[in-house]
């Protein structure tokens, strides 16, 4: 299946960086931190590149304990991506990113895609952030996701089969659980 994705799939080297925009840590989810985290993941497999080492030593010399500013991170990202074969950036749950951060985040992604055209961006979010995404990426491919009841049924059956106390389960209870879960899922 994976090989069928793309004729060249097996020959390609791909690097994936992903962020989950978790509302629990939304104060930390500034665009700067997110871009820094993406960069960290892109270089994470190898030795730290010299330009990052240099920038770090410079900040150390200046006794600046803060991380690099966004404008510097964007340049570093450009350099990092240029040295990699293909880069996928995944940002999950965009709607959980603070509304005040979202425009800057999307704008930064736009700059990355513009300057490093081999980058592919995978975003997920609730339908209401679609407008934001399309403002920065008018040609973004949008795929609506809805729960697939067949998959949910299979999953619930698998979980019920693993019940550590099967003696407490009856056919009626099992059917009831399935009915309620599928009803709730169809409301999503």
């Amino acid at each position: 299946m994976i090989d069928s994705l793309c004729d060249r799939a097996g020959k390609e080297n791909i690097v994936v960086a992903g962020i989950y925009c978790d509302f629990l840590s939304e104060q930390e989810q500034t665009t700067t931190n997110i871009m820094g985290s993406i960069l960290k993941q892109l270089i994470g497999r190898w030795e730290i590149p010299y330009y990052l080492r240099n920038a770090f030593h410079k900040a150390e010399m200046e006794l600046d304990s803060r991380g690099p500013p966004l404008v510097d991170l964007m340049e570093m990202l450009k350099t990092a991506i240029a040295s990699l074969p293909r880069v996928f950036i995944c940002l999950d749950a965009l709607d959980e990113c603070l509304p005040t951060h979202l425009p800057r985040l999307l704008d930064s992604l736009r700059v990355i895609v513009r300057d490093s055209p081999k980058t592919r961006v995978f975003l997920t979010g609730r339908p209401h952030v679609r407008e934001n995404v399309q403002r920065y990426f008018p040609k973004a491919v949008v795929i609506p996701i809805s729960p697939n009841t067949d998959h949910i049924r299979d999953y619930v059956e698998m979980r019920l089969d693993r019940d550590p106390e099967p003696e407490a389960m009856s056919e009626d209870l099992r059917a009831g659980i399935m009915k309620v879960i599928l009803e709730k899922a169809s409301e999503l």
Binding site: I14, Q41, F56, R120, P147
Partner: protein
């Protein structure tokens, strides 16, 4: 390759250099960003149910996005859905194909 364990690996492992090098690498990574995005992926992976997101990989739109050569026209794919629809899982699937090919 496991992203968690591969965050930083000193290439040269010698007596004089190793610890400084390792510490500095870790320091630089922390300096770049305090965010550690890996934990969530591990949870999603642990909870993974086979086959739940494979349909996405087979979609024409996904394949075109995945295989398109350069340019900004098809650079971005946005999966839109309400909570519980399986978006986080799809993100895992999308990340998985990339990682599994990397080895």
């Amino acid at each position: 390759m496991d992203l968690v364990n591969s965050q930083f690996r000193p290439i040269i492992w010698d007596r004089n250099n190793t610890f400084n090098k390792f510490n500095e690498g870790a320091q630089i990574l922390r300096w770049l960003s305090p965010l550690e995005p890996y934990n969530r992926h591990q949870t999603v992976r642990a909870d993974r149910f086979d086959g739940g997101g494979d349909w996405l990989l087979e979609m024409r739109e996904f394949r075109e996005w995945r295989c398109s050569e350069g340019g900004t026209d098809k650079a971005v794919l946005f999966c839109s859905g309400n909570p519980g629809a399986g978006k986080t899982y799809l993100r895992y699937v999308a990340g998985f194909f990339g990682r599994s090919e990397y080895h």
